[in-house]
Subunit: 216 residues, 2 copies
Amino acid sequence: MLFSGLPDEAFDRTLQPIDHFIFPPGCLLHESGRSGEFIFSIRRGLVKLINIAPGGVQRIVRLLGPGSSVGLELLDGEKGYRHPVVAVNEVDVCRIPVTTVKQLQADYPVLHDQVRERLQEQLDRADDWIVSMGTGPAKERVVNLLLMLGEICGDGNGDIEMLHLDDMAAIVGTSIETVSRIIAELKRHHLVYKVANHLYRLDRGALSVIIGDTAG
Amino acid sequence: MLFSGLPDEAFDRTLQPIDHFIFPPGCLLHESGRSGEFIFSIRRGLVKLINIAPGGVQRIVRLLGPGSSVGLELLDGEKGYRHPVVAVNEVDVCRIPVTTVKQLQADYPVLHDQVRERLQEQLDRADDWIVSMGTGPAKERVVNLLLMLGEICGDGNGDIEMLHLDDMAAIVGTSIETVSRIIAELKRHHLVYKVANHLYRLDRGALSVIIGDTAG
DNA sequence: CGAGGGGTTGACGCCGATCAAAGCTGGTGG
DNA sequence: CCACCAGCTTTGATCGGCGTCAACCCCTCG
């Protein structure tokens, strides 16, 4: 969590409350309060940061799971969020007023480091995204996405909650038909197989071979 | 600069010196000192952050110009840089020991904000990159790149220093031949024309039409 | 049972990768 | 001052991957 490392009494004097929310899939996080006043810390589930190009085409620029923070850009004093943020699964978040974070940063300098590490983590994620989702044939990109899903919200078994086709297409930058064909082929070769409704298991070793990762 | 907002006397007690370097094109910044000890602040010129995939394929994940900082990830206590950083032009930088930044952060909390803003700026840049360089036909991506070059290191006239084909290809994710054909076509239509050796001028209005930016 | 939304599958055309070869250009040495 | 060479750029020909359009399937829900 964003506040790990802070003592419990740190929160005794916060002027505004830290609330806990649960969003259903497809819900826009920002609507839970007036725009640009809250930072969210994700406890469970998956959210997508989307970019809407002039023309209406959507592209997903990041997936964030448990432990990640949303809205840190508000600390720079700007009014709005950079991207619309939408729940993919059912999502469990802490909603923290920006003023509370600023206040706590002043009282506990270690929080500065926490915030910086979150930002750095997102930057690393974005760089990885540029390489994984922006390069190579469609098949490699889809496989990269599946493996990344396992890392972000893997449940230990290596099972992932499969996204909808349009989300995956908006991530890897292809048409939904192409994604459908690729995943169908992966299923035929038993590199991906269903274990429950929307829950799929990955053969990570075999998938890693496809993207040419000789380190397995 | 990274230290704007700090008083001059802040640097009187720094244990290690802040040096000034000039790198020729193609030079790896990290080699100027032992690995993982320095943060660079760019004063002039352009650097590229590159990612080398297993297999040797290079992809450029970011271009940084004057005002940007390189190596902020070292503040997280890790040993190495995330990406190799290579000078594109002749580059003018300040080399700042990580320990100096940490020391100054402790003495001047406002520096925490400066660092956070730099990170946020790079995150915004990365997100924009994902959209601009990862979506749409090759022509749009190249035009986006040219316009972005003008923003990062524009000299006011709207002139840009043209990159080499292989760099542009590594940015937009196409072959060098495709980039060459696209730029040749732009020249034919007088949307781009040479004003000096490697210096080109852009017709921004007309180029904006290509990428469908109705706000032009 | 019918409607609708997502997923699947096929046919076809085009964009862009690839291979190949021919200009250009700047640097080097005679 | 010129010839030469290496690396970069340009251009052409060909081919495959993937976008697009269209039809169909399947599951859910009213």
